[in-house]
Symmetry: C2
Subunit: 313 residues, 2 copies
Amino acid sequence: MNLVRDMLAGNRQALARLISKVENRDGEVSKIIAELYPKTGRAQVWGITGPPGAGKSTLVDQLVLQLRAKKKRVAVVAVDPSSPFSGGAVLGDRIRMQRHAGDRGVYIRSLGTRGKRGGLSHATKEVLFILDAAGFDIILVETAGVGQTELDVLNIAQTVVVVLVPESGDSIQVMKAGLMEIADVFAVNKSDRPESDRLVHELKTMVGMQDHDENTWLAPILKTEAHRSVGVDSLLKSIESHQEFTTRSGEKQIKAEEFILNEVTDILSEKLSLSLIKIFESKDGQKILKELYHKKLDPYVAADRFSKIISKS
Amino acid sequence: MNLVRDMLAGNRQALARLISKVENRDGEVSKIIAELYPKTGRAQVWGITGPPGAGKSTLVDQLVLQLRAKKKRVAVVAVDPSSPFSGGAVLGDRIRMQRHAGDRGVYIRSLGTRGKRGGLSHATKEVLFILDAAGFDIILVETAGVGQTELDVLNIAQTVVVVLVPESGDSIQVMKAGLMEIADVFAVNKSDRPESDRLVHELKTMVGMQDHDENTWLAPILKTEAHRSVGVDSLLKSIESHQEFTTRSGEKQIKAEEFILNEVTDILSEKLSLSLIKIFESKDGQKILKELYHKKLDPYVAADRFSKIISKS
């Protein structure tokens, strides 16, 4: 496949086209992934999430700059499930890329879809395979963290940074459980604001209250002012410590295996959906559906019949 | 099944327990749905969505009151995919129920889950079967409309009301396409605020710009002040007109059939996930996974092998 070869040789247009193919669930996806998969397994995946307005994009840009100074090749994947109420979050890839124009060590791409549920996190996993094979050292996955799709996406990351701002303070109690589950590192951004010490204190209390022993990673809390590059170096160090921790503890390996299990599950779910669409339109399928619509069959019995048709085909 | 019999006889506790079984994906779900499915098909499903703070719950409560005055039995299902950043939206069923205490014609229930993606919209569909069989005339499905799960849920409704407030005005341009796709009726709530006329005007322009002929439903735009019960009767009339329109146009039948197709698809997806979990743990499965982890197989080839194991079992 020429696109894959060109991409591996460093062609950016080939990279962009491969990602589009995965995003659009092109028929060649299985061939692309089959060819690239053996070349994967090197990249670190960092998730960056937080409520809208927390300054995630600015922080991500600062992380990219510092990583570039260390000669790391960095890709940013901004995941935004298009929904009528999240439309405002769509990121301007072009504007963001301009800052790094001419720097072949940076690649920024938004992913979004109005497709079937599950489709976006499946596509995101496969985009990570591509970027990993393309030789990026670190892939930053940026989400607004508001729904199931974003949580699925964050599950992919080895290290998750939750970005908060002092204003988020009031709602922290409510989201406590959820945050503790996903955060490996907290960044309290816009920390020049007066209430930031209170937020840091609250987070420290929350983190300290978890069951833990000497082998537990306790999420550090870093103060940042992304727009003035303050605290970004410490944040970077914390992320790197967490990466070392997950490697040492074996958690990284477990994550890598879960990633693959989820990818296999997604492939089979997608295959199932496509088979069903065909069967629903077939003569046999229409007969079952008619009985179902007329309530002569219930959905579970109908599902069994469809399942048998799929097994035979 | 005693629970089903009791529920059909009007026992509220049995109703609540059946819903919990569906929500928790209890092993008896298929039996419950098989038994109830023939008794479904009568209820109208209305979706109510809009950004947080638009006053959806107050509006829903007002609709419930007016429907009760017309002797309609009403159920409210508030769907809230638990996510770390939406925690604040969890609705207090008990508080909301208190207003209707002793009124057996009203039932209010929140649904939320941290489970696998797709699980929530699957469970919601099955809860609608239960409420429909229980004899509720109208089921209001309330969502905050921020993610894919909520959109899946809204897809279920025959009529979708999008609730906006003057403050949402600025972001309207961005979410235009998405809104037009899902809205059958617009409610501009808190319409005593000064900017509300501008929002109404913008929405009218947007609706008018759609391709349409005499058979197209153009979403009406209603001004409401839910907290003062203003405009709720007109809103109700618009919803009822839309219900008549979908019945006449055949759209209602199409929706009902799509609903069933999605339910069958969800049943098979769930079955696939459960099969995979078992196979991943089996000896054969472990062998395939080992090759996959060591990159001797790619995920698509591995998926094919798992698919064959599933077909044989």
